[in-house]
């Protein structure tokens, strides 16, 4: 069984944007960036929080220059930019398909990420295989970028498994549903990385609502105290089900972190380039002993909280329209077109890929079979447990009683053996 005992994460994830700055720009430049960009940027934030958003791509797709953050994405090739565009399109397609599957009764529930594609793709694609993600339940695009199989994205939502994948295969824990609990796990994991003397980084994904939870605040206390290489990546999508972010905080969420001694920044979460730059900057700090960073990715939940939610009861349509104009995909499309990167051919290729993914995603979902009854007892403990073993054997005997009459005598034997084993009944 893969696991920490067998030598720690054996992630086989796609990390197509990881570590490109040092590799392509040379060591000298890396050092320069660290000194002038990372430190200066974050010191500036520490000195006096501003509400200013880091934005490199306007909603209209115009490239805005930013001398602090431009260097962090200067190495991106047209191919990599197209790759980001493809990811954005594909994860939106997965999300749309999943919502449809839920409406068709194939999934019990689905938490759409519509509108948050750039925040998730931009941050996840910068990670290395040996980094480790601890997320909430809406980070399906992050999971996709980490290399989670399509079929594994829906096991939980179809109800066939308690979680979808082996965390050590992809460097990502399965989602935490208790709001904010995973931020502490990320912090502990990061403390472990530091103990091990490696430069792997843990990333905690959580939302605006989670910032009110004690766990998130305690995670920041622990991360600061132990100087842990962890990134707190907060997707402020403006809503915690029906509660607007103003109910969680009267100040920008990023402004809380410096109170814990953690540098922070606010980034346009619908701008995949800005998110990539911010994340690379924070990763560099963490890898080089700079400790934790808090990133507030300002975005918007364009859909419901989950497929069970009815946002028409609380969302102002005018506000939603305002955010629709800031769509994370449209601006990349416009930018790549203006740069001559997104050709008709490339667009068709991405569309074909999205179609293909959607087809496989749907087929995978429909192929999931109900688990075997007695598996309800599996994996509660990693070593034998006498109480549970007894319940399992008794329930097995009970279930055997429902089988065909031809088997009745065998069932009675099974009952008898249980009774002998279990003592006087």
């Amino acid at each position: 069984m893969p696991g920490p005992a067998s030598g720690l994460p054996t992630a086989a994830v796609s990390d197509r944007l990881a570590a490109d700055v040092p590799v392509e720009s040379g060591a000298d430049r890396e050092i320069m960036l660290r000194a002038t960009v990372a430190d200066h940027t974050l010191d500036h934030q520490l000195g006096g929080m501003s509400d200013e958003l880091v934005q490199l791509l306007t909603p209209q797709g115009e490239r805005v220059s930013n001398h602090l953050y431009d260097p962090w994405i200067a190495d991106l090739t047209p191919g990599q930019l197209l790759g980001l565009y493809e990811d954005l399109v594909v994860v939106r397609r997965i999300d749309t398909e999943a919502t449809a599957l839920q409406r068709q009764g194939e999934l019990g529930l689905w938490p759409p990420l519509l509108g948050q594609e750039a925040a998730q793709v931009g941050s996840a694609r910068t990670l290395r295989a040996d980094d480790f993600v601890f997320s909430s339940y809406r980070e399906n695009a992050v999971a996709y970028c980490r290399g989670v199989e399509l079929i594994d994205l829906v096991r939980v939502w179809r109800g066939t498994a308690a979680s979808g994948w082996n965390p050590y295969d992809v460097g990502m824990a399965t989602p935490a549903v208790i709001i904010g609990a995973q931020t502490l796990h990320a912090t502990g994991y990061a403390i472990g990385c530091a103990k091990d003397g490696v430069d792997s980084v843990a990333v905690a994904y959580f939302g605006d609502g989670a910032t009110s939870q004690g766990d998130v605040n305690e995670a920041m206390v622990f991360a600061a105290s132990f100087h842990a290489p962890v990134i707190f990546f907060c997707q402020n999508n403006q809503w915690a089900i029906s509660e607007p972010v103003g109910l969680q905080s009267g100040l920008p969420l990023a402004s809380r972190a410096p109170g814990f001694g953690i540098p922070s920044l606010r980034v346009d979460g619908n701008d995949v380039l800005a998110v990539t730059a911010a994340m690379r900057c924070a990763l560099d700090r963490a890898r080089t002993g700079g400790g934790p960073t808090f990133i507030e990715a300002v975005t918007y939940r364009m859909g419901p909280h989950t497929t069970s939610d009815d946002p028409s009861r609380y969302v102002d349509p005018a506000e939603r329209e305002k955010w629709a104009a800031k769509d994370p995909i449209a601006r990349v499309e416009a930018f790549l077109e203006s740069e001559g990167i997104l050709t008709d051919e490339a667009r068709a290729s991405v569309a074909a890929k999205a179609d293909d993914v959607a087809t496989h995603f749907r087929a995978g979902c429909l192929s999931l079979e109900d688990p075997e009854a007695l598996s309800v007892f599996d994996n509660v403990y990693s070593t034998p447990h006498s109480g549970l073993a007894r319940q399992k054997s008794q329930y097995a005997a009970y279930l055997a009683g429902f089988e065909a009459p031809a088997d009745a005598s065998a069932d009675l034997d099974a009952h008898a053996s249980i009774d002998v084993e279990g003592g006087e009944r």
């Binding site: 994991y189 990061a190 103990k195």
Partner: protein, 335 residues
């Protein structure tokens, strides 16, 4: 063999675990320089360094959540909760994260976390310092729960708990921390099953089941009863989840009578579970309905009232009289 207090016996167990496995790390409040408020971790930070014996910020959920992350990373965290009543801020991390992670990940991620909890009353303490919260955790699937009662068991069981790949709540009877006993350190993790109960003294008339701080009280009760010609078999459960029902059942089949005692409140407690399970297993061997001697269903009271909360020798003997059909407090003292 060395004579050690129960506190030192746990401390030496922790030292062996730290020495034997570099992945073992201790986390808690005041466990470093101070050596813990009960001095259980005395000297360990000096010996193993601040990287292995970590004083943490004052936040129980933070400690447990951090331990989860360390376990993900392959570490084997041993957490100290300073007092029983301080565990509740960590409740979510324990029951919703630590307990479920193995199940949630289909066995991919183990949580070899030991959570040490000094528990129980009898020390004249203020509120939140005398509680017995074990039933919250025995009710939680995915956790193992241990309560030690003497120095040798404390030493052996803490090493077994740390070596176990499942999360273990390890309850330490704080009023017995200074109880002395011979400890054989060569009793390593493999020497006995962590799940097995121990027959502390054999008897033929009544089975008296106890754990943690009340094992010593139960032994006193057995000694006192023998003066009246009553033979009590005392069983120390040691493991509260799972419970070694086979040992209890074998005893009750012999004695026909069961008394269960714990400091924790009665309603929904372990006594109810043991009475029900034993009744279920060997109803036709019972001569009387099982009896429980427990704390009352009130918050743990102020120090000057705790003697009216805690089960003591006389209350145990009263229950023994009850299951024997002798005169007792419920029938009136004349039978």
């Amino acid at each position: 063999m060395t004579e050690l207090t129960l506190s030192r016996a746990i401390g030496t167990g922790l030292r062996r675990a730290l020495a034997d496995d570099p992945k073992v790390v201790l986390l808690g409040e005041d466990i470093g320089k101070l050596g813990g408020v009960f001095r259980v971790t005395d000297g360990l930070q000096e010996e193993f360094g601040r990287d292995r014996v970590m004083d943490t910020p004052l936040a129980e959920a933070g400690i447990l959540g951090t331990a989860v992350g360390l376990a993900f990373r392959g570490y084997r965290p041993v957490v100290e909760i300073q007092f029983d009543g301080f565990i509740y801020p960590a409740f979510d991390q324990i029951v919703a994260q630590v307990a479920k992670m193995h199940y949630r990940t289909a066995g991919a991620v183990t949580m070899p976390i030991t959570i040490r909890v000094p528990f129980g009353g009898g020390i004249g303490a203020v509120e939140h310092h005398s509680e017995s919260p074990e039933a919250y955790f025995t009710h939680t699937s995915g956790l193992r729960v241990i309560a030690c009662s003497n120095p040798q068991d404390a030493h052996t069981l803490i090493r077994q708990a740390i070596a176990c790949d499942d999360p273990v709540l390890f309850f330490e009877p704080k009023r017995r921390y200074w109880m002395k006993g011979e400890v054989e350190e060569e009793f390593g993790p493999q020497t006995l099953s962590m799940e097995s109960a121990r027959v502390v003294c054999e008897g033929t008339d009544v089975t008296l089941v106890a754990y943690g701080p009340l094992v010593a009280t139960a032994m006193d009760a057995a000694t006192a009863a023998s003066d009246d010609g009553i033979s009590i078999e005392v069983i120390d459960l040691r493991s509260l989840s799972p419970v070694d029902f086979d040992t209890v059942e074998a005893s009750v089949r012999k004695t026909g009578r069961l008394v269960v005692t714990h400091e924790a409140q009665q309603f929904g407690g372990l006594g109810a579970e043991i009475a029900a399970s034993i009744t279920d297993r060997c109803f036709y061997f019972l001569e009387a309905a099982p009896a429980r001697v427990t704390g009352f269903d009130v918050p743990y009271p102020p120090a000057k009232l705790e003697e009216h909360f805690l089960p003591d020798l006389d209350r145990m003997l009263d229950a023994v009289d009850r299951v024997l059909g002798r005169a007792n407090s419920l029938t009136g003292w004349k039978a």
